[in-house]
């Protein structure tokens, strides 16, 4: 399919500089009608900048964008949309206070009559059609703000579909979707390709590219390294091209894994935790220094379980004890005092204060330590944040940098670093690797193992089930709010976990406890 005819969208010798970095260095990149092009690269490789240039959100310093061979000087997103180039940005572009239907038609409300007034009937119909094409059922009448992350992502993709794109740019479209939603999206992408739409597909999930892309372009350091037919690009080759000289394979992360865990008195014990309809009779125990994976698909209750343990949600019944001490009904402050810390799923929204500096974010949960009498001691504060920065290998010039300017991987490290104040004993990680590159993932895995060696217990949730056997000592399968199986990491695979977690033709493995 690749390279059929003239490129419909072409960036020619495009250069884009930001203070201190050349994000794109004379890059030439084109896609043709009926082609699905994967665009991969580590964080900072220039993918996002290239997409922003192609979609009119950013002007290149040098070079041009050509649409159907005609030079197009686009200065705002609308310029691209008008030319049939529609982008689903990674930052969710949703208006939480408006209905799902209105979010789908946002910016181009269907109108009627001489007054050109908004036609609410048509708004609803357009939104329903787009969501049906995605094989989803979302009530288009509710506020978009009430949807989950995945639901919002679907609304955004529906918006792109309703605009009848000739070029569809998807920036990490699957990062918050469940397996079935990903499959529906892939079917849709193939259907659009067959209708002659050009699709640019940015993803960190290299394993999904084989099934969806025709060609793959690999970027590194603001340059295009190579463009290959997907058939000639097995995952190992792509990963190698992405990382260049750096050899760091995910599978090396477990080098520090202890061979035998001493399962003495468990540190965290959860008994008969219930919070219908999300959680039903959850019981398990975690030893100090143990890393427990939670394998669950979206909607399995995995996020609710972590939020319950963190004191953010109140279970209807059940008991949580730490070090043999039963915990109260649950308040976030109480659990933090007991040593339980949560690194939430949506780190930019719930885990960080983006406009504060790295240093300020790192001491956010430790005022008791850095401000012994209510007045912050700059010395103690600097010492604590310096320690976290060094321990986690956060790459920054100084602790004064604002967190929002960091890459996803470094932001995640700050979220974890916030809790490394010597008081945390149980760390709850909800999707710590979402949207970060392979290299940063490997680092996160190493950090998790290192924390475990220091005696911290970790609960690790990841949508990418293949990660769990890499980093965990034990894996609990969570399905529809129940723990349905307990698995040893060396005796399982991602496919087996997925079968158990999604319940597709899975032999129901009852727990042996």
């Amino acid at each position: 399919m690749a390279g059929t005819g003239e490129p419909i969208l072409l960036a020619r010798s495009v250069t884009k500089r930001y203070p201190g970095v050349t994000a794109l260095d004379a890059v030439t990149f084109g896609v043709s009608a009926g082609e699905v092009r994967a665009l991969v690269g580590m964080n900072g490789a220039g993918k996002s900048t290239l997409i922003r240039v192609l979609s009119g959100a950013e002007r290149p310093d040098e070079g041009h964008v050509l649409v159907n061979g005609v030079r197009a000087d686009m200065t705002k997103p609308d310029d691209a949309t008008r030319r049939g180039i529609v982008t689903v940005f990674q930052e969710l572009a949703i208006i939480p206070t408006l209905s799902v239907a209105e979010n789908v038609v946002l910016g181009r409300w269907p109108r009627r009559g001489i007054l050109r007034s908004v036609d609410w009937r048509a708004v609803r119909a357009v939104a329903l059609r787009a969501i049906e094409e995605l094989e989803q059922t979302i009530d288009v009448g509710v506020d978009a703000g009430t949807l989950s992350l995945a639901g919002r992502q679907i609304v955004e993709i529906a918006r792109a579909i309703s605009r009848q794109a000739r070029v569809l740019i998807l920036d990490e479209p699957t990062s918050s979707l469940s397996i079935t939603e990903v499959e529906a999206l892939h079917r849709l992408v193939r259907r659009l390709r067959d209708q002659g739409v050009a699709v640019i597909y940015v993803s960190h999930r290299l394993d999904e590219l084989q099934g969806i892309a025709d060609t793959v372009t690999i970027m590194r350091d603001g340059l295009i390294v190579k463009t290959l037919p997907i058939a000639d690009a097995p995952i190992e080759r792509i990963a190698q091209l992405m990382m260049g000289q750096e050899i760091s394979l995910v599978t090396q992360a477990r080098e520090s894994k202890p061979t035998a865990i001493e399962r003495g008195t468990p540190l965290l014990v959860v008994e008969h935790l219930r919070m219908p309809p999300k959680l039903e009779d959850i019981s398990f125990a975690v030893a100090a220094g143990e890393v427990i994976g939670i394998a669950g698909v979206l909607g399995s209750g995995r996020t609710e379980l972590l939020r319950c343990l963190a004191g953010d949600l109140r279970p209807v019944s059940g008991r949580v004890s730490i070090d043999g001490v039963a915990q109260g009904a649950g308040s976030v402050q109480g659990r933090i005092a007991a040593g339980v810390a949560l690194a939430p799923e949506d780190r930019r929204r719930d885990g960080l204060v983006p406009i504060l500096s790295v240093g300020e974010n790192l001491v956010l949960a430790s005022f008791g330590l850095v401000a012994p009498r209510g007045v912050i001691s700059p010395r103690l504060s600097a010492r604590l944040s310096r320690a976290s920065i060094d321990r986690l290998g956060i790459k920054i010039a100084s602790g004064r940098e604002e967190v929002r300017t960091l890459s996803g991987g470094n932001q995640q490290k700050v979220v974890i670093g916030k809790w490394l104040n010597g008081r945390t004993r149980v760390l709850l990680l909800d999707e710590p690797t979402r949207g970060i590159d392979v290299h940063a993932k490997t680092q996160i895995f190493r950090i998790v193992r290192a924390l475990a060696n220091d005696g911290i217990s970790v609960l690790f949730v990841s949508e990418e089930l293949a990660e769990l056997p890499e980093v965990c000592d034990r894996i609990l399968v969570l399905r529809r709010g129940r723990i349905t199986a307990e698995v040893e990491p060396h005796s399982t695979t991602a496919a087996a976990l997925l079968n158990m977690a999604s319940g597709v033709a899975a032999p129901r493995t009852e727990r042996s406890s």
Binding site: A57, K76, P77, D78, T81, T87, F89, E91, L92, A93, I94, I95, P96, T97, L98, S99, A101, E102, L106, G107, R108, W109, R111, L115, R116, S117, V118, W120, R121, V123, R124, A125, L128, T137, I138, D139, V140, G141, V142, D143, T146, R159
Partner: protein, 336 residues
């Protein structure tokens, strides 16, 4: 959120209701609770006042209540759009006074015909609002600051132009705009009702209106959807600027003069009415219907307190408590 949106949505042929509609109904009720509650509270107050304070339920008194509320209501329509868009305009009081004084100066001192003077006043008010909005939109100075500047400068300008004395407007026909009636309905009330219809249509049925909700709900998402965020921000402040100038003309007509001390504190009456009506100060949420109910509720309450004979000092305290209570109820209702 919009009156017709929800009802129309469910009547689309070919899409039978499904299970999710149960949630939709609950959601729709919740979206209405705040307006229904405010309507109910207003009705209860109306009944209570009618029974306990005889002079309340007379045509003359009720028309007076409406006439006084018109000066708040006309600006409140625009203020609803401003708050929905995530901005604020605290300049209406001084802008109204300045508009009246400018009109009187142009007409009485400079001898310009009234219609031309009025057009000049409206143009001036609109441009000042656009200026405040543009500084927000392009230089990122919060509208609280840009309109605070207007709040300070316009009162000063009005005093400067008039030496802080009323400037009479000789033309008595002009006073019809403030004191006259059409089929028994005070003229300002006619303008208020017409304005409500117009701005309801703008907010619920035009892409401009929906863009305001989008910008207030999430400006970055609005920008990426091709909405001209800067234009929207500039325009909504232009609207309150225009409406403040317009109200300034009506107030001058009512007083028969341009008065630099007029409309003292009006901006807070307007903002209070909009907030009581359920509009969120953080943007993205709010309806014209809610604002209308808020305007009427506060006007009714003020009138009742005066008729009962409560002293102005106590009136202010009661009003403050009522506004706080209304907002607390709104917040509780909106919470899941």
């Amino acid at each position: 959120m919009i009156e017709d949106e929800d009802t129309l949505i469910d009547s689309v042929p070919g899409h039978p209701p499904h299970a999710a509609n149960v949630g939709n109904i609950a959601h729709r009720l919740r979206g209405r609770v705040n307006e229904a509650g405010l309507f109910g509270a207003g009705a209860l107050l109306f009944i209570a006042l009618s029974i306990s304070v005889p002079p309340f339920l007379t045509t003359a008194n009720l028309l007076n209540v409406l006439r006084d509320s018109a000066f708040v209501g006309i600006i409140a329509w625009g203020m609803t759009l401003v708050l929905v868009g995530g901005e604020i305009d605290i300049s209406p009081g001084p802008a109204v006074a300045f508009g009246g004084v400018l009109l009187a100066v142009l007409n009485s001192t400079l001898g310009l015909p009234l219609p031309i003077a009025a057009v000049a006043v409206l143009l001036m008010g609109t441009l000042l609002g656009i200026g405040a909005g543009a500084i927000r939109a392009y230089l990122n100075v919060p509208t609280f600051i840009t309109t605070l500047t207007l709040w300070l400068a316009l009162r000063g300008a009005a005093e400067l132009l008039s030496d802080a004395l009323p400037i009479p407007i000789a033309n008595t026909d002009f006073q019809v705009l403030g004191n006259g009636s059409v089929f028994g309905v005070p003229v300002p009330v006619v303008f208020m009702v017409a304005g409500f219809g117009f701005f309801w249509f703008v907010s619920a049925r035009t892409s401009f209106g929906r863009s305001i909700y989008a910008v207030g709900g999430n400006s970055e998402a609005a920008r990426l959807s091709g909405i001209g965020v800067a234009h929207i921000r500039t325009a909504i402040l232009g609207i309150t600027g225009f409406l403040s100038a317009f109200t300034g003309i009506l107030v001058a007509a009512r007083l028969g003069s341009g008065n630099s001390g007029a409309a003292d504190g009006l901006e807070f009456d307007v903002i209070a009415a909009v907030i009581v009506g359920g509009t969120s100060l953080s943007g993205g949420r709010g309806t014209l219907l809610g604002t209308a109910l808020g305007v009427l509720f506060i006007a009714e309450l003020d009138n009742g307190l005066i008729l009962i004979g409560v002293t102005p000092y106590v009136q202010s305290i009661i009003r403050g408590v009522v506004i706080l209570t209304a907002v607390i109820i709104n917040v509780l209702v909106r919470r899941d």
